[in-house]
C-alpha cells in the first residue's frame, strides 16, 4: 500500500465532496443548527443561571445524533456506487492503483471532509458559548467534538460497505437512508421494545447497545460530559459499576470497531466486485 497514492485519492475525494452542493448544504445546515442551539443556550443564561459548554452539549447531542450519521452514510454510499454508475471508477482503477489504495483513500478523504464540517460547526458554536460563559469545560466539549468525528467516520465506513455492493447510486442512497432510520430513529424504540418483550437484564441491554454505533457514541458522550450514566437508567448504572474506569476506553474501542469492521467488509466486497 502506497501512502502517496492514498493521499492523492483522499485529497481528490475531499475536494470533490466540498464542491458538491448537497454536502455544502448539509455542512452549512449543521453549522447553522449548532449555532442556533448555542445562541439559544446562552440567551437562557439569565433564566437558568448557568452557562458554559456542558449545558449546550446536551442539546447538541441530539442534533449530532440526527445529522452526522445521515451525512456519513450518504457520503459513503454515494462514493463508490456513484463513481461506478458514472464510469469514473473504471477510469480510476485503470491507473496504477490497487483497490485497497482506492478504498482507503476514499475513506480518508470522506472522513477528512466530514471531520472538517463537524469541527466547523463545533467551532462556531464553541465561540458563541465561550463568549457568554467562559472556557470552563472546554476539554469535555473538545472530547465531544472528537467523538462526533468518530461517529461520522463509523457511518462513512457503513456507507462504503453499502457502496461497495451497489451498482446504482439510487439503490445505495435508498439503503443508506434505510440504515439511518434503523440506527437513529428505530434504534431507541427497538432497544426499548426488545428490553420489554424479552425482559432483558441491564447487562444484556448494555451489550445490545454496543450493536448500534449511535448508542455507543451516546454512552461515550454522556460518560465524558456527565461523568455518570444515571440518565440512562439501569443499563447506565450497570455499565458504570461493572466497567468503571474501563468504560470510556471500551466505548471508544467499540466506536473504532464500528469503523474497522464495515471498512474491512467493504474492502472484501470491493475487491470481489471490481469496477463494474
Amino acid at each position: 500500500m502506497d501512502l502517496s497514492t492514498i493521499a492523492l485519492i483522499a485529497a481528490k475525494e475531499f475536494r470533490d465532496l466540498w464542491r458538491s452542493r448537497w454536502f455544502a448544504v448539509m455542512a452549512a445546515a449543521f453549522a447553522a443548527l449548532a449555532l442556533a442551539l448555542s445562541v439559544l443556550g446562552t440567551a437562557l443564561v439569565g433564566l437558568a443561571g448557568v452557562a458554559g459548554f456542558g449545558r449546550t452539549t446536551a442539546s447538541l447531542l441530539n442534533l449530532v445524533m440526527l445529522i452526522v450519521p445521515l451525512m456519513g452514510l450518504v457520503m459513503g454510499a454515494m462514493s463508490l456506487a456513484g463513481e461506478r454508475e458514472q464510469g469514473t471508477l473504471l477510469t480510476l482503477l485503470a491507473q496504477p492503483v490497487t483497490p485497497t489504495e482506492v478504498l482507503v483513500g476514499k475513506l480518508v478523504g470522506l472522513a477528512a471532509a466530514l471531520g472538517a464540517a463537524v469541527v466547523g460547526g463545533f467551532a462556531i458554536s464553541g465561540l458563541v458559548i465561550a463568549k457568554a460563559g467562559g472556557w470552563a469545560e472546554l476539554g469535555d466539549y473538545l472530547a465531544f467534538a472528537g467523538l462526533t468525528v468518530g461517529l461520522g467516520i463509523a457511518h462513512v465506513a457503513l456507507g462504503l460497505w453499502i457502496s461497495a455492493t451497489s451498482r446504482r447510486s439510487a439503490s445505495a442512497l435508498g439503503m443508506a437512508v434505510f440504515l439511518w432510520m434503523v440506527v437513529v430513529i428505530f434504534g431507541d424504540l427497538g432497544v426499548m421494545g426488545t428490553a420489554v418483550v424479552l425482559k432483558l437484564t441491564p447487562a444484556q441491554l448494555l451489550w445490545v447497545g454496543f450493536g448500534n454505533p449511535a448508542q455507543v457514541f451516546r454512552l461515550a458522550v454522556l460518560r465524558v460530559v456527565h461523568g455518570d450514566l444515571d440518565i440512562l437508567g439501569a443499563a447506565g448504572l450497570y455499565a458504570a459499576s461493572r466497567l468503571g474506569g474501563w468504560l470510556l476506553p471500551i466505548l471508544v474501542g467499540a466506536l473504532a470497531a464500528w469503523v474497522a469492521v464495515p471498512a474491512t467488509i467493504a474492502w472484501v466486497q470491493f475487491r470481489r466486485r471490481g469496477a463494474l
Partner: protein, 310 residues
Amino acid sequence: MSATSLSPTTSPSSLEMQAVVKRFGRVTAVDRVDLSVRSGETVVLWGPNGAGKTTLLRCVLGVVPFDGTITVCGYDVRRNGKAARRLMGYVPQEIRLPGHQTVLETVTFVARLRRVSPTTALAGLGRWGLEGMAEQRVQTLSGGMKQRLALALALISDPPVLLLDEPTSNLDLAARRELMEQLEQLRTQGKTLLVCSHHAAEVWRIADRVVVLEHGRVVAQDAPERLGAYLGGEALVALTFSSSQKEEAAALLRRQGFTVMTNGSARQIWVRIAGDRKLEPLRALHEANIRILDLELHSAAPGQAGHTGR
C-alpha cells in the same frame, strides 16, 4: 485457418492470456481465451457487439475479477495489478471523468498517480491539440477533444502497452481519420497496441493481426489480408426490430440457413452473410411481414465498405 495460428514466437510477449474466463452470472462473456501479443505488435480484437471484446480488455486491465491467467510484460495482473497497469495505458470507448474537473486537474491527478511531473504532462498536451484548454471543464469538451484527452492521459507516462476500446466509435469522420493517424504513429514507435473494434475497415489497416471473437471465444486469428480472404467478402448485418419481433426474426433467418448472433440486446441481432446474398435476409423478413427498424452493414474484409448504412 485456426484459432491458434500465428502464435508469436519471434519476440517476447507483452501480453499473455491463458484460459481466460469471465462470467456475469450465468452469461459467459469471455470463454477460455488464449492469446499472446508480441512486443510492438498491433492486434485488433474484432467481432460484433457483445462478442466479449470490451470485457476481455477489462480483464487485461485487471479491473474486473476473472478466471485464468493474464500477464503484462511478465506481471500477473491479478497478483501484481498495480505494476502491470503502470505499463499500460487505457483508452475507453468514451472517457468518463468527473465533469466538474478541469483538464488541468485531470492531467495533474493522473500524472501524479503515474509518477510523472505534472509540468511535463501539461507541456505535452500540445501534442494532442489540447493546448490552451487546461482551465476548461472536461464536461464541456467535444467528443473528439475528450478522445484526445483520453489518449493523452493513456500516454502520460509513455507506457509500452496501449489498450483501446472502440476508440473511433464516438468520433466524426475527420476525428476518426486523425485518431487512426495517431495510432499509426504509435505503432511505428514500437508500442504494443490491443484495439477492440467492430468497425473493420478502419482498424484493420493498422493491424498486424486480427483476432475474431464470437460469443466470448476466439474463432479465428490471422494477418488482416489473409483473414479478409478467408472471410471472402462476408458481411455482418446488424438488424434492429421491435422487442416483440426479434425472436421471430432470428428464428426465421436461422431456418433459412443464416448464421444469426444475438448478444443480449433486447432488439438487435447480427447476421453473417456472404457478399452476394446481402439482400436475402431483408427480403425474407419483408415477406414474413417482420418490420426492420434499423440496419447497419459491416464489411468483414479490410478495405471494403465497412460503412454504417442507416
